[in-house]
Symmetry: C2
Subunit: 332 residues, 2 copies
């Protein structure tokens, strides 16, 4: 009988690097479908910063943590290999929260059919979570206006790189904060950002002032860390801060203080957070907004593909070290 | 000839208590009006937390600082004693930014006629800045809903006490943070708050948990200080934080860090600041919203009246020590 290899979470993550002892790899029988169910063979899985939150024991978060002893939660893409579900047939390409496993048994809920000729890695890198998150966060939360200045952290990341390109297409001045010279080059030379700053350099404030001569109207926050305070201090009146992630604090699990709210008053700022799971129901409208930018060639991307289910474990650490170059994906 | 006693700001305030050496009292001639002007004899002046900002040298704030050597900025109420302005006649009662002086020469701009039988102190305590600020901040920024829980800091203050009473009238559960047992008694027994916490007590977190069993949906921030973090930690999903003031930091001029934005993400919070000067044009609509609550007897207040122009100087310190009981007003 065919097996289904799966990786279960067996220990909640508080701080430190992700290692093999948080997980247990199990070999189960390939699931059998019942009436109304379908079976998906997963081909690619997405590794995302949000997974640190899901591995935490914090039950107060926006979705419950992964239960110990059950399969690690993740988003992926695959092909329907068996179906007795009226809406899905064998051969359909689907995305959904399939988890770290080869086969995913589903009643169809939360699965979306993929109607695109793009390869799997491109779907996961652009049209799935990153594109939806960037589109919702930038447009619905950030309310960008042509001529404004946007600063985005994690600018070479899956979400940040799309946010910056969308904002450029809308006529904003776009500056990206990244963690290496290679990434700085990529976002300026390949993606067309107006400027990039390596947050590891020692004259951050000078660089930021030089690149944002008219101040900052929109701050799309993916990382946190000390640069947050410098960006905040250059916010213009009525500026908006979209808080999407704080990955600089996910590994050690201690959340550093944010800047005093005095500028929230003086500059009349709005600081607003969101999580994409609240807005999945709005995906069709978001994709309708986002797709034309992709079709017009305005959204470039790169994928960083790891091989094999178990590469996901150490792969997560690339997100906190910034070692990945492009959207992190695991090929099964 | 009649004199006009005025108090000029001669030194910008950075930190520490307000003392006489920041000011110079001058005796000028009573101004003469020209065509299109009017002269107001000021009867009562309002002392407000915002004045610390106006005394600062920070030119990046929402309005320019008071220029050294010119009259200290303030809001007040008085009576027109001379007029060659078509819209104002002798005997009219008016409010406006008249400054720390007996007589105010005006071309009519920014002056509002007071059409109310209420005494001066009541106009300044309820219908002027405090009522406008509370109404705009609570309704337009905070978006309160019946059944929600509101926590307001500076709850016995001019703005906080009105915010709490408006929210009670709207069917919210309302908890106030204050700085003395006397104020705690007043807001619960006189104003009808559901609970009060003296921030100087040592079991703040326990008290807050007991009084907000369903968490906090709306946080109206007037003070800052360590209690800010405790309130923030109890915010519910989709909670709103209205940042109106941080008076706990105004005296020493060092703004303490705010809580990490991680809960802004996890709880999808919105943190939004405002200053009333942006919204004066909307005063008629705000008063239309606010007046019925006053008419129905739902807004109680108390005024703390100081005597004489020069009492304003040391009076400002009552705002930072919390020594005032009710809206601070100077009677001329």
């Amino acid at each position: 009988m065919t097996t289904n290899t799966a990786i279960n979470l067996i220990k909640h993550h508080e701080s430190g690097a992700i290692s093999a002892d948080f997980f247990q790899t199990v070999k189960l029988d390939k699931p059998s479908i019942k009436e109304g169910e379908l079976l998906v063979k997963q081909n690619h899985m997405s590794l995302d910063p949000a997974m640190f939150g899901w591995m935490n024991a914090d039950t107060e978060s926006y979705i419950p943590p992964v239960e110990l002893g059950s399969v690690m939660r993740s988003f992926g893409i695959g092909e329907v290999v068996e179906s007795s579900h009226p809406d899905f047939k064998v051969g359909d390409r689907v995305t959904g929260m399939m988890g770290w496993q080869e086969y995913f048994l589903s009643n169809g809920e939360g699965l979306d059919k993929v109607d695109s000729p793009l390869p799997d890695a491109d779907v996961l890198s652009v049209f799935a979570l990153p594109g939806l998150t960037a589109t919702h966060g930038l447009f619905n939360v950030g309310q960008p206006k042509a001529g404004e200045t946007l600063v985005v952290t994690g600018a070479a990341g899956a979400v940040g790189s799309i946010v910056g390109q969308l904002a450029k297409a809308e006529g904003l001045r776009v500056i990206g904060i990244v963690g290496s010279e290679e990434k700085a080059d990529w976002i300026v030379k390949e993606l067309g950002f107006d400027g990039a700053i390596n947050y590891k350099s020692d004259d951050l404030d000078t660089q930021l002032a030089a690149l944002t001569p008219k101040g900052i109207d929109l701050f799309f926050e993916n990382t946190g860390g000390p640069v947050q305070h410098l960006i905040y201090n250059r916010m213009n009146e009525h500026g908006r801060i979209v808080v999407c992630g704080l990955i600089a604090d996910y590994e050690n699990g201690e959340y550093r203080a944010a800047p005093s709210w005095i500028n929230v008053i003086k500059k009349r700022l709005t600081v607003q957070g969101f999580v994409m799971t609240d807005h999945f129901h709005n995906s069709p409208a978001l994709l309708e907004k986002f797709a034309p930018y992709v079709m017009e060639g305005k959204i470039k991307h790169r994928s960083h593909v790891l091989d094999g289910l178990e590469s996901a474990i150490s792969g997560l650490n690339l997100l906190t070290t910034g070692g990945n170059k492009g959207k992190l994906i695991v090929r099964l």
